[in-house]
Amino acid sequence: MWEYSDKVQEHFINPKNVGEIEGADGVGNVGSIACGDALRLTIKVDENQVITDAKFKTFGCASAIASSSMLTEMLKGMKLEDAKKLTNDDIAKALGGLPKEKMHCSVMGREALEAAIADYTGAILPMAQGEVICECFGVTDLEIIRAIKENTLKSVEEITNFTKAGGGCGKCEGRLREILAETAEGLSPLPIGVKKEKRMTTLEKIKKIEEVIEREIKPTLKKDGGDIQLKDVDGDFVTVALRGSCAGCHSSRTTLKEYVEKKLREQVLDSLIVEEDR
């Protein structure tokens, strides 16, 4: 039997905010019945960009239901800006912790929130754009890398606990180990004697991104009759608009990921995630 905290049990037995908001401003659907858990989050956002209501429907175990219930409680009355910064750890902590094998339930809550916000703002979901590593549960490399970074995961087993990746047929175990090694390398403290780079301020970051787009990316796209415009920078998320022949081009996603994001990661910050403004 799992050891669930009192808070988990309380939110499981008497979940808050069950249902769907009619005419919701944002809807986030994550998971599937095949995976064993799924969550539909609906949110209402007012003109001051404050989440006024949140409801959920969840198929899943006690911790999935409790995570969803807790998430909706946290969201009500929260500014959209703050909601964007919520992590799975915030949800797990509010529940008084989750068994380690169940951390993916809190990750599902966070992903549903991101999906609902993306639905509201019209942005693309950044995490879904990565390469699918675990085919059983449809987990992308971006989701895995983020989980490793945010929760300082140290083993493949922990990756499975947090993202479910590798929990099915197990074929992707080798890839997970590679991703873990690559990501951990970036995280490890620098050797003694090497001066740690100063953290960039947001202003510096935006300036640098702008500079790279103007100097390198724009001219390249223009050669193909396209254009690009920087729309927003929010944390690691860079929103751009593709113009000219790039807009609506079926390979625009590839352009975005393979070229724009790669360039920005190389020259500005390697954690940047580029998404398209629609």
Partner: protein
């Protein structure tokens, strides 16, 4: 530890059973006054040996076997490993094993990793099951080859209760000079067994599934079946299993086998009727509820029912609020992320596999308990379905 044992409604007897009060009484002297070693020369130890002899007889009687064919072990898993690895050592030139897709992990994981345990490469045939969990005999027959060393097929499935025709399968196996093992952990005590009339070479059973304590099992080894021990050491069990006997538990198992023989009719009449009432009640009062497993070819105590579009762990924890104990084949209950391999092998869709609940009864269950469960279940399922994002569009 919060719930008072008196109020527990225990319908998880395929997981483990309560120790029968008569069994505990039989064991107590061997945990207190009679602590001698049965191998000792003095009378004090020797009398303990007599208790083991009696227990061996009781086990043999329940199985329709000779006492010399009974080897006491520590659990069902040890018995399974002993039988299969013994057969492989008996036929070192053979490299094929036949089993099914729905075996208990004790057999399944061993057969999946034979190379690790033996250092030799094996080809393993894992027989498919039909949608109702039964096996196709012709397909089984076709799977046997000259390279086959052993067939290991469970007598009854722990999750669905579906019974396999192991007597017929053992006969077909024997004709080809192949050894036959059956994991009968779920069958012993629930359905009549008479090994003298079969061609079964090895049979595993576990004490705690039939009201004896945990930590004692049996491997039946047919007379003249070649045997290589798994645990080497002392001369106990005629050199077939080293290690000082777990005397009290062996005595308890003997008593449990005697009780099982006297309860066999009740198990197949009263317990079966309770199970049927429970099953029919659930299927008729709850929409989109499905029975997993063949309706007749099944243990009398087991009902495996899926409630579509809800998840098993959530169901179990709601049942737990009412002190109702059962099991689920959902992914979340196992700690793995995939639902039961048994239900998947039967092709039960994901919509139902995650919401499967196994009720397994015993002679200690009452009709009042069944009525109580039938009263509580519809509301539990309805509450979870209101929450399910899949229910509205599929109801």
């Amino acid at each position: 530890m919060a719930a008072s044992p008196a109020k527990i409604i225990y319908m998880d007897n395929n997981a483990t059973t309560r120790v029968a009060p008569e069994v505990l009484d039989a064991m107590m002297p061997y945990l207190t006054d009679y602590y001698g070693n049965p191998s000792s020369m003095h009378t004090f130890g020797g009398q303990v040996g007599q208790a083991i002899t009696q227990a061996r007889q009781a086990v043999a009687d329940l199985l329709g076997a000779f006492p010399e064919e009974i080897v006491f072990t520590s659990c069902g898993t040890e018995s399974d490993s002993t039988a299969i690895l013994s057969a492989l050592q008996t036929f070192p030139e053979k490299n094929h094993v036949v089993t099914t897709r729905v075996e208990h992990p004790a057999v399944k994981n061993l057969c999946d990793n034979l190379e690790i345990f033996t250092g030799r490469k094996y080809h393993t045939t894992r027989l498919h099951v039909e949608a109702d969990g039964t096996l196709d005999l012709q397909r089984f027959k076709d799977s046997l080859t000259d390279e086959t060393a052993i067939v290991s097929v469970m007598w009854a499935n722990n999750e669905t209760g579906v019974i396999f025709p192991v007597e017929e399968m053992a006969r077909l196996t024997k004709e080809r000079g192949i050894l036959f093992h059956t994991d009968a952990v779920q069958a012993v005590g629930k359905i009549p067994i008479n090994l003298k009339e079969t061609a079964i070479d090895f049979l595993s059973l576990s004490g705690h599934k039939l009201h004896a304590p945990k930590g004692v099992g049996v491997l039946y080894v047919r007379k003249r079946t070649p045997f290589v021990p798994f645990l080497n050491g002392g001369h106990q069990e005629k050199g077939r299993r080293g290690g000082t006997e777990n005397v009290a538990s062996i005595v308890g198992l003997g008593k449990a086998c005697e009780l099982a023989a006297t309860h066999m009719v009740e198990e197949n009449t009263r317990v079966r009727a309770l199970r049927d009432k429970l099953e029919k009640g659930l299927l008729s009062s709850i929409p989109k509820a499905l029975l997993n497993g063949h309706p007749e070819q099944r243990l009398p105590n087991t009902a495996n029912v899926s409630f579509e579009y809800v998840e098993g762990e959530a169901i179990l924890l709601h049942m737990n609020q009412f002190n109702i104990c059962a099991s689920s084949g959902s992914a979340c209950t196992s700690g793995s992320l995939e639902p039961s391999h048994v239900l998947r092998a039967m092709g039960v869709p994901f919509t139902a596999a995650h919401g499967s609940i196994r009720f397994s009864l015993s002679v200690y269950n009452t009709e009042d308990e069944v009525d109580f469960v039938l009263e509580k279940m519809p509301a539990i399922i309805a509450k979870l379905r209101v929450m399910s994002p899949f229910w509205e569009e599929n109801k």
